[in-house]
């Protein structure tokens, strides 16, 4: 039952809270919580190839990550989702290559070069509209990005970093490979980023 609950909850890609699991599924078996979660995790791994990962040990939230290596070719994924993931990966790349943290002005200036304008419809046809909302709200809620305001600055400015989900679903190494592929260069071309990506976690 917990397996089904987790699979459905994962649709929105918002981390699943322990409290919800307890309230909706486990209920009176609270005492066996750990054992139940472990077993569910094992089923998810063995049957679906998914890993239940605890994202935040303090707030007890979980996400589902694929255990299988990224396969070439057809991902069972709708167009809208593909476009969103494309945009996300580009943003993650920018952040990493620029030293793991960028100012919002820098990011949006970069996106403008890609013909992506906040608030202008049609930049990403599959999305139909608010790119700013997608980036600053949806991606943040899903823990792909972390946006923090810079203190004591007016008008307010923000710092963009990788979110906890991003660190679990991909890696600096993978993102560097993506950049290398796009630019037709070898990852070693960017020495300091390469060293950072290859360093043991």
């Amino acid at each position: 039952e917990l397996v089904q609950f987790v699979l459905v909850k994962d649709q929105k890609k918002i981390p699943i809270r322990r409290a919800d699991m307890l309230k909706n599924v486990i209920r009176e078996y609270r005492g066996a919580y750990t054992e139940i979660v472990n077993r569910a995790g094992r089923t998810l791994q063995e049957v679906f190839g998914l890993q239940l990962v605890e994202l935040d040990p303090k707030r007890h939230s979980y996400i589902l990550v694929s255990k299988l290596p990224c396969a070439e070719g057809n991902h069972p994924c709708r167009a809208k989702e593909k476009e969103k993931m494309g945009l996300l990966t580009v943003i993650l790349s920018f952040i990493f290559m620029k030293g793991n943290s960028v100012k919002d002005s820098a990011l949006w200036e970069f996106l403008r070069r890609l013909r992506v304008h906040p608030g202008l419809k049609g930049s990403l046809p599959g999305l139909g509209g608010d790119v700013q909302k997608l980036v600053t709200e949806e991606f943040v809620r899903q823990k792909y990005l972390e946006i923090t305001p810079i203190p004591l600055i007016d008008p307010p400015q923000f710092t963009y970093k990788w979110g906890a989900r991003a660190t679990k679903e991909t890696s600096k190494r993978d993102i560097l490979n993506f950049v290398a592929k796009v630019q037709g260069k070898r990852p070693k071309f960017w020495t300091s980023q390469y060293n950072e990506a290859m360093a043991p976690p």
Partner: protein, 260 residues
């Protein structure tokens, strides 16, 4: 002369030399020496500039503009002549631009595929049934209950009708075959197997099983232990007396492999 040593990023030689020159300058009194000093300064600053450049190339900086351009190329931008009043100078992006990026990006992400229920079955019949039931729902509630059993019955019947018709048809074929040549046994497999369709074969077996159940046909085993089928005497003759007969259950397994 000690150029290489000075250029080495790890060495402070350049700084030390500058400091030495500084000290020396304090003691200068003649213009010639001042000119030398100036020359030295120029030399030192050039060296300094080179040193800075070398530092730069050791860690190639990531260039935003190039990355953006390369991305646009990856997306398949059509680069056109730059026109003055163009809203998008430099080219147009195709509509699947971000789709391309997304497909490549997915290779670098370990994202769990979103889970969705597969709705509906594969049978072709249900859609018809659904239409009828839906029409019922729109009718007034009071009548709904009474009318529904009638509708459902109709559907059931049509279901049965097709099966019955098929069964009768197959019986007809079997009888004709047998009449044409009563002495040659009809191989069961020859009778039911459709060389072009496995599913049709299964359907045939299904319909034949009704004939067996109703005692209209029987399956015997010939000398080679292969099943043969023939219409029973009662179906060949008159229709009364359809007793159950000897009831034997046989399980025949037929996988697609075997069928091939």
């Amino acid at each position: 002369e000690n150029r290489e040593e000075m250029l080495n990023s790890k060495s402070n030689r350049l700084t030390e030399t500058l400091e030495e020159a500084n000290k020396l300058f304090d003691e200068v009194s003649r213009p010639r020496e001042a000119a030398l000093d100036a020359q030295f300064l120029v030399l030192a600053s050039n060296l300094g500039k080179e040193k800075a450049n070398e530092l730069h190339s050791e860690m190639t900086a990531f260039d935003t503009a190039t990355f953006a351009e390369d991305l646009l190329t990856f997306m398949g931008i059509n680069r056109t002549e730059v026109e003055e009043n163009d809203s998008e100078p430099g080219g147009f992006l195709p509509s699947d631009a971000w789709l391309k990026v997304g497909e490549e990006a997915l290779k670098y992400l370990r994202r769990a595929p979103t889970f969705h229920y597969m709705l509906g079955s594969f049978k072709s019949d249900p859609p018809v049934a659904k239409q009828r039931i839906e029409r019922q729902k729109r009718a007034s509630r009071g009548e709904a209950k009474r009318a529904m059993p009638a509708q459902l019955k109709k559907m059931e019947e049509s279901h049965q009708e097709t099966t019955e018709k098929e069964v009768e048809r197959i019986l007809g074929i079997l009888q004709t075959l047998f009449e044409n040549d009563p002495d040659t046994p009809i191989s069961f497999f020859d009778f039911v197997i459709d060389p072009n369709s496995f599913s049709r074969t299964v359907e045939n077996v299904f319909h034949v099983s009704f004939l067996i159940r109703d005692g209209l046909a029987e399956i015997k085993v010939d000398d080679y232990v292969l099943p043969i089928i023939e219409p029973t005497k009662s179906s060949r003759g008159r229709k009364n007396d359809r007793g159950p007969g000897a009831r034997n259950q046989v399980v025949i397994s037929l996988t697609e492999k075997k069928w091939k």
